[in-house]
């Protein structure tokens, strides 16, 4: 059954092309933003007041981009709504459907993250910038964790609105 789901995920044209490219772009912009802010923070490291106000802007920007990513992922998931409903009609349990959704999300996020990272590396080369990754990656991982947590909350908040579509 997992085979069917994986197969169907890869065969879904709408997900493999436009949605993943779009998400990759968002992720790469995110990385560039992180790197740029990280650079600024390093410059102003000694001026605590300025560094703190920059951190605030940095947090706000992350929150805005998290919301945009949630909207995008929600759009992608909605495109597959029919398929999840069909599986339920044909005898799939809610647990199976949830597993399908999570698997689907995981694939989208991993592919987009990979795509985003490659794009970031290319863009940073083009821009002839060299960033330190030590400070950047913990922030980025935190960003991904926040996104995942918000997605989970979002999913359960909207679950009640769906009558039976799975």
């Amino acid at each position: 059954m997992i085979k069917l789901t994986l197969k169907s995920i890869w065969e879904q044209k709408g997900i493999n092309s436009s949605s993943v490219v779009l998400l990759s772009l968002v992720f790469s912009v995110q990385l560039l933003l992180c790197a740029w802010l990280e650079g600024i923070l390093n410059i102003y490291n000694e001026d605590i007041e300025k560094a703190n106000s920059l951190r605030l802007i940095f947090t706000l920007l992350i929150l805005v981009s998290v919301t945009s990513i949630i909207t995008l992922i929600n759009y992608v998931m909605n495109k597959r709504r029919n398929e999840f409903r069909t599986l339920r009609l044909c005898g799939a349990t809610p647990t199976y459907i949830l597993a399908c959704k999570l698997l689907h999300l995981l694939v989208i996020v991993i592919v987009s993250l990979l795509g985003g990272s490659i794009l970031f590396l290319l863009l940073s080369k083009i821009l002839n910038q060299h960033y330190k990754f030590n400070g950047l990656f913990p922030v980025y991982i935190l960003f991904v964790v926040i996104t995942a947590a918000e997605l989970t909350v979002y999913h359960f908040m909207h679950r009640k609105d769906e009558k039976w579509a799975g």
Partner: protein, 224 residues
């Protein structure tokens, strides 16, 4: 409990934190005998689809009992309800409920993924496609089919597992008059083969073709 489907004092209330309670069904009673072709009529929001979802094991009532083919579904867990949807009750929807990016054959395979009995799968698919008159469309993507053809695929998928009960939610709602007739002919043929059919419709002409009409208003069932 006597009939193949039995509803006793069934109440279904939908409630969320933000909206007031909606009583979709109010102490509804219904018995459907094996081999019956029943139509359920009523205006929008009267509780028709809720009734179908309860019989189709897609939902559970807030109160009362629903019995399908001798099993009380109210007491079943999600796994057992899923098994009922796979092996006892099939559902045909107005918007067909197909996987759009797949072929007709792929759509008919789906019920077998959740079934323990996959023996003779291809023969069963072939026979369902022949019965619904779309054997030549086997490898065609669903996106390249007309509305009538899509509904035939949905019916073929509903009968591929040989489930004794077929539920149809406005099955002719998106079709033209000629195609409506053809789909109704298919339902009659299935009923002659012994299938119990419950069809939700607001089309009185379609309802008149069935052996019994049940009307729903404000969540209450009235025999016609």
């Amino acid at each position: 409990m006597g009939g193949i489907i039995e509803l006793k004092d069934v109440t279904k209330i939908y409630s969320t934190k933000d909206t007031p309670e909606i009583i979709a069904l109010n102490k509804a009673n219904l018995t459907v005998e094996e081999g019956e072709f029943l139509s359920v009529c009523g205006v929008s929001g009267s509780g028709k689809s809720t009734l179908l979802h309860l019989i189709g094991c897609l939902d559970k009532p807030t109160e009362g009992t629903v019995s399908v083919k001798g099993s009380v579904t109210t007491q079943m867990n999600e796994k057992e309800l899923a098994r009922m949807r796979n092996g006892t009750v099939s559902i045909v929807l107005q918007d067909f409920g197909l996987i759009p990016s797949r072929t007709v054959y792929d759509n008919l395979v789906v019920p077998f993924y959740f079934s323990s009995n996959r023996k003779g799968m291809n023969d069963k698919i072939k026979s369902a496609l022949e019965f619904t008159g779309i054997a030549d469309l086997n490898q065609r993507p669903v996106t390249k089919l007309s509305g009538g053809q899509k509904q035939r695929v949905a019916i073929a998928r509903a009968i591929v597992n040989d489930n004794p009960i077929l539920l149809a939610d406005e099955p002719t709602g998106q079709l033209d008059t000629q195609t409506k007739k053809q789909i109704m002919e298919l339902f009659h043929k299935l009923n002659e083969k012994g299938k119990t059919i419950i069809m939700v419709t607001h089309d009185i002409d379609m309802a008149k073709e069935t052996s019994r009409i049940v009307k729903i208003a404000d969540g209450s069932i009235m025999e016609s």
